[in-house]
């Protein structure tokens, strides 16, 4: 019942915060959001799931299965549960929500109760996405995330917020449509062999090779088409180049706390779904198309990093670098090795923390200077030494400094990809992708040198002072988490490894 508790509490909290006067909304929301943090950490500490929730022999923790409605031949259930992949992501969601709420206190100055209400509503939906084990339930949560995000960008965003919000909405909705169609093609292909839309049942039916023809197309074609549709649907969310252009616009217009959640959690919906659907249910198709997917991954890494290098806006730099980092996730997934898939999942969590940290650091500077353009400022370390220090730490974390979580994640991905027998010429692919670690150093060092160091100069009219504690405190929390996970990756990696190990053996012989 704990998953339900999390979701229902977040929904209730959202409702309560909507009703609270604006001046208390921020504090009230933060306090309320501590409850899911506590609950999820407690769940983490008593976590007893084993294996992968979708696969035979896997036993998710906190599982609830209750029949909900029956649609034709299919039972739609309230089926939730957490395994080693979803548990860390739920913890990430609750933690980042609280920190994002605190970091919103300074920059969000109008319609606060609505803002925090939407954030909490989105948290409920996000937890649902990671916990749902029934397709329709999952899809409802998946779509439900879009609504608050749309408003958060469209109402509280920057000057071009309408454009960015619409773009985000259209992009992700088209993606949802395509993935929905793709998934139901599979469902129809499975025919009588399934009687529910439960994800484990479907995954196991597919693994057992029970896919039939649909509309005259053989199982192979159906699988491939479904794979392509699902891949596109999730690739938009991740985003994978070339489906990424909504991301920089959304990030630039979104207020900082929203960017934190967008980069920190929403992007992980895409990689999480890729892992669940494309690389677990349809592992054989993924294996067969490994070259293509690996190219997508490497292009995302290098091209994303190059784009980041060309930017002048701090937030755009971080936004594009997310594309690069998510490329590593794809690379790890397609490797189909324990380190590859495990590292990719670990990277989802790690990047959630580090990109959140990075966006917040940019946000703190923006709060004080009201600019994010590299050319508009220099020597900020002179006036905001603490913020600058955290910024430097965050940037090095992003560059994959050892003993911080990004390094652990990336090294695991690289090791996994290097020894992959699925990707052809795996060492070469891996080596090319690894060049990303040089480019990331290039653009972040350049950004730091221009904005933080050198003689002090600021081209805006604002009086710059030290950032208030409420702005800086979340940074320290995140930094501590990033270091903790870098020193002890096993805090999450152990359960991740347990959940993804079976995945790496999928799609070898079975299937249609």
């Amino acid at each position: 019942m704990l998953v339900e508790l999390l979701i229902v509490f977040a929904l209730m909290a959202a409702g309560l915060v909507f009703l609270v006067p604006d001046e208390y909304a921020g504090q009230f929301a933060a306090v309320l959001s501590l409850v899911p943090v506590g609950v999820s950490l407690w769940m983490y500490s008593v976590f007893d799931g084993t294996g992968n929730a979708l696969l035979e022999g896997g036993q998710p923790a906190f599982e609830t299965l209750a029949n909900w409605i029956t649609l034709g031949p299919y039972a739609i259930s309230w089926h939730v549960g957490l395994d080693g992949v979803s548990m860390p992501l739920v913890v990430l969601t609750t933690l980042l929500t609280t920190l994002a709420i605190v970091s919103a206190w300074t920059p969000i100055e109008e319609r606060e109760s609505q803002f925090y209400g939407l954030v909490l509503f989105m948290q409920a939906a996000l937890i649902g996405v990671f916990a749902a084990l029934d397709f329709l339930l999952w899809f409802v949560f998946w779509e439900a995330v879009l609504v608050p995000m749309y408003f958060l960008i469209g109402v509280w965003g920057g000057p071009r917020r309408k454009y960015a919000a619409i773009k985000f909405f259209v992009y992700t909705n088209i993606a949802s449509l395509v993935l929905f169609v793709g998934f139901f093609t599979l469902v129809f292909g499975l025919g009588d062999s399934i009687s529910t839309l439960g994800l484990p049942a479907i995954a196991q039916a597919l693994e057992a090779g029970q896919l039939g023809s649909v509309a005259g197309f053989g199982p192979g074609t159906v699988k491939l088409a479904a794979f392509a549709a699902l891949f596109f649907g999730f690739a938009v969310k991740v985003p994978v180049v070339p489906f990424h252009t909504w991301l920089p616009d959304a990030h630039v217009e979104a207020p900082t706390p929203v960017s934190v959640l967008l980069a920190g959690v929403l992007l992980k919906m895409g990689t999480y779904a890729l892992l669940r659907f494309n690389f677990t249910m349809l592992a054989d198709v993924a294996r067969a198309n490994a070259t293509l997917i690996a190219i997508f991954a490497v292009v995302s890494v290098i091209y994303g990093a190059l784009l980041a290098l060309a930017q002048q806006d701090l937030k755009r730099i971080v936004a594009y670098s997310s594309i690069s980092s998510m490329g590593y996730v794809i690379l790890g997934l397609i490797a189909f090795t324990p380190h590859g898939v495990g590292g990719a999942t670990f990277q989802m969590v790690s990047h959630g923390l580090i990109s959140g940290l990075m966006f917040m650091a940019v946000g703190v500077i923006y709060n004080e200077t009201h600019t994010r353009m590299i050319g508009d400022m220099s020597g900020m370390a002179d006036r905001m030494p603490v913020t600058a220090g955290v910024f430097v730490a965050a940037a090095f974390g992003y560059m994959g400094l050892p003993l911080m979580s990004g390094f652990a994640a990336e090294v695991l991905v690289f090791m996994g990809a290097f020894q992959s027998t699925v990707i052809p010429a795996a060492p070469l692919f891996t080596a090319i992708a690894m060049f990303g670690i040089v480019i990331v150093a290039g653009y972040l060092l350049r950004a730091m040198q221009k904005t933080l160091f050198g003689p002090f100069r600021l081209e805006t009219d604002y009086d710059i002072g030290r950032a208030p504690l409420q702005d800086v405190a979340p940074l320290f929390v995140l930094l501590a988490l990033v270091i903790a996970l870098g020193v002890a990756p096993d805090l999450f990696y152990r359960m991740i490894q347990d959940a993804v190990f079976e995945v790496t053996a999928l799609g070898l012989g079975g299937g249609a």
């Binding site: 469209g154 619409i166 909405f169 290098l309 050892p402 090294v411 020894q419 690894m434 096993d490 490894q497």
Partner: protein
Amino acid sequence: MVSAFEFVPAIAVLPLVSFVVALAFGKWMPKKGALAGIFATVGSLLISIWTALTVAGFLGSETVYHAELWRFATGIGTFNLHLGVFVDPLSSLMLLIVSLISVLVFIFSLGYMNDEDETGLPRYYASLSLFSFSMLAFVFADNILMAFMFFELVGLCSFLLIGFWFREDAPPSAAKKAFLVTRFGDFFFLIGVVGIFATFGTGLFATEAGFPHMAEQAITGEMPGPVGEFLSAVGMGAQQWFTILGLLVLGGVVGKSAQFPLHTWLPDAMEGPTPVSALIHAATMVAAGVYLVARMYGFYLLTPTTLAIIALIGGFTALFAATMGVVKQELKQVLAYSTISQYGYMMLALGSGGYVAAVFHLTTHAVFKALLFLGAGSVIIAMHHNENMWDMGGLKEKMPVTYWTFLSGSLALAGIVPFAGFWSKDEVLYEALIHGLGSPVLLVAWAMGLLAVFLTGFYTFRMVFLTFHGEPRSDTAEDPESVRWNVKLPLGVLGVLAATIGFINMVPVAKLTGLKIDFLHKWLVGGEVLNAEFLTGLEHYEPILKEVAGIKASYIAGGEIPTLLISAALSLGLALAGVGLAYRLYAVPEPVAHTKKLGGLRTLLMHNYYQDEYQVWLAQGVTLPLARAADTFDQGIIDGVVNGISSVSLFSGDRVRRIQTGVVSNYAALLTIGLALLLIVFGIVGGWF
């Protein structure tokens, strides 16, 4: 009885504690964090001494130590990714060097930073402590992943310290360059690390479970199962693949040890405070690269191609950097190029099978280069931070302690008998010669190294004469600021060591007299356990050198002793010739530059062979425009297509505008209706209703 080995982790942890203390509380501490650093590094030094004594066998029978400290991943099917301690003669010697230099640098910093009323001292001492921590942990790393991790942290610390004066323009830029150039090398290193794990399933340096041993097995003995599988997957022979791995790791070495072509960051790194330069050049960052090759020497010995490349890079860098050192006008610049050149010698030694010679030169160089940098620091204090040698002159009488210790360091650097550098450099060249006689590539490398001896003697004493001799050439040189005990003490200690530390391995004397005084050699040969169990002793390396790498010694003029004497006479003669030329040109009351005589070469040297230019061009002339082109492509083509599609479809410009003007609830309605429609369509198609 407690063993020193149990406390080895504390050697690194103490400076880590001091990092935290200085960062958090330095502001309120009497010397702004310096005392924390001094206490910590003195502690490290004491434990290092204790450890070295234990390794020497004075304090019990256990002389090698290996322990796992912390495992990163314990799940099913993971590699053993861990932090561990490995103490053998090599690492215990290096621990000693690093902690000694760290202590002295901390003490010197009291004079260089505190007495000069610098701001940001807690940050300075915190970074310095972190630097010592990273390097010490790197030194006792028992596996290559851990080595890489601390190698990177060393890079971070150099970034923080080179850019210490961040309010100016040049230091942050130099810091960025240092990190970026070494990162470029580390990119290859990391591929190497990943490749080693993927190939061998382990990154251990020592024991039979370590990757050097598995590689040796793969080449000479029975192919270990997983290695064979991986090799057939990549479709390469063992030696070919190991050569690639070795070269990849070497990328990191070339970056950190500032070897050609990744040496360009190092002269710029002089923007950092001088004590930092001493630490970087003598004992930490730059030494890390060479140390790494020595640490995994058992692996490099298996691939003669890699060895030859190491030797060539080393010999070339030694000569190449020395030529640039000849025309520099600033004190620290001369020293910077001398560092690059001297590390070239160590690489030359490693590549030509001179393991002991390399470690010996690493040791002596640590002492005399730290001394020279601290001496330069003392001069810079005296000169009110003017580093131009042409404004100095005549400082000899005014700062005798600095002068005499600096002279000791210079004699060592130039390789004048009996100062430390003579013994080690002579051994480097001797090893390169005897092994090069059978191998033309090594012989070329040796010849370059030998030529550089002359240049070293010349630029070193050009620096000494311009700085300390003649008449003062500026007002500050007339009346230099005096320095205190905290400057003189480290100089004194190092000055004595620079004169004497060569005595630990006087190979020529040992060979001539038959006395067993080649202590360092014996130290690295190690005992039974080291060679049979841990496989990192010289006794284990020597047969591999002969049999697998095919590097054998041959002699000229009829034997070992004559070759030895000829080699020593050659290097000493050339060094003296260099010193003599410098004396003639610059030890005069009013020296002039004399660089015009170099003609066109002068421009080339002044511009450092345009190495910076092409690397900056690669970054700013190639990568940046490429990034901009990608950005234009992204905005114009990819996003353009998206916008194009949307404008001809449902969301045409006109309608988008209409949607945008709608009240927010419309969007929610839109979404809900869309979802409902979707479900209904599928329900009908699927026959649910």
